[in-house]
Symmetry: C2
Subunit: 200 residues, 2 copies
């Protein structure tokens, strides 16, 4: 089985951790934030700025024409988002050609569709995702469960809109993935060896 | 990992074949139609009659009161369906207690929820399911692609309604399964060893 693995994941499902540990277990590369660093190297943009562009969501940036100057600003932001997506696509393709790897998010499943990566989607029920987020809060973060729930739902909505904007298909729809893994009530560390065996 | 494995599957996805081969590979029991035979043994009903009762779908058999005699027939059929479901649940629980096994369909994931089986759902895109059905047609069957598509959709609708009636949750919703496997464009025989490794 191929060893280009893309991982889509619901916020708080532990998908990123699963990806990182899977890459470790298989002894292959792991790309997540590293991609932003690469984009920064390839463009004149700062890493923080790129993160900012990605988070601003292209779908809300389609040029509109209520007043000429406002439209201009939107159009500029939209072009920036497109430029980042183009750079990201190019880098993801280069990384996947270079060696076996795990790539987190970033529509990599769609960008690499011609290479037929193993497309994994990681998900869990909301309760379990809230619990996972509570566990990994940094010191000083004191979000309540209710606030966390809101944050999780907002993050997933963003991911869904981003994915749908660039791929034209539904984020999390099982038909877009080869394997969907439910992490409800599981300890990621404990399920990774079983998942890794698929690639032996 | 536990070795009670339940398999839900879309019609034509190859889920049954995957289950059978997985059981062979793991050297554990496989239950599909065998469950009907068991029900027949435990009740006074003939196997064919049971199949008939199952296929008549309980949701369409809820007692209604348009005319006294009609309501009586419906009520009787509804009770029969309930009796079969009860017998089936009892047998599935007994089989799962006896030894490791793979069980196909029949809401086994829900019936065995307290034993925490590994719940697999097998699916594929419609095109691939039509192709799989075309391949496995018996001699003399000459359904066109269009007819097969209709049949597949009708079967899935039945399965969904049956599942939802007895479990109160949505058939095929990934949250009801631990692992969802996309068989689009795959040869079942070839992916089984990889899936089996999860249980090593």
């Amino acid at each position: 089985m191929g060893r280009i693995i893309t991982i889509g994941r619901e916020f708080g499902s532990g998908g990123r951790e699963l990806g990182r540990r899977l890459a470790e277990e298989l002894g292959i590369e792991y790309y997540d934030r590293e991609i932003l660093t690469q984009i920064a190297k390839h463009t004149s943009m700062a890493e923080e700025y790129i993160q900012n562009v990605v988070e601003r969501q292209p779908h809300s940036l389609l040029p509109i024409t209520i007043g000429r100057s406002f439209a201009y600003v939107e159009d500029y932001a939209f072009k920036q988002a497109q430029a980042v997506y183009q750079a990201q696509s190019k880098i993801i393709r280069e990384l996947a050609e270079k060696s076996d790897c795990v790539i987190i998010g970033r529509c990599a499943d769609y960008i690499l569709r011609d290479q037929k990566p193993l497309r994994i989607f990681v998900y869990a029920d909301l309760e379990s995702r809230i619990a996972r987020c509570m566990d990994r809060r940094s010191e000083g973060e004191d979000l309540t469960e209710k606030e966390l729930k809101k944050q999780i739902q907002a993050m997933d909505k963003n991911r869904a809109r981003y994915y749908e904007f660039y791929t034209g298909t539904k984020w999390g729809d099982k038909l877009n993935y080869d394997l969907c893994i439910n992490t409800t009530g599981t300890v990621i560390k404990e399920i990774v060896p079983a998942v890794a065996k698929i690639f032996d």
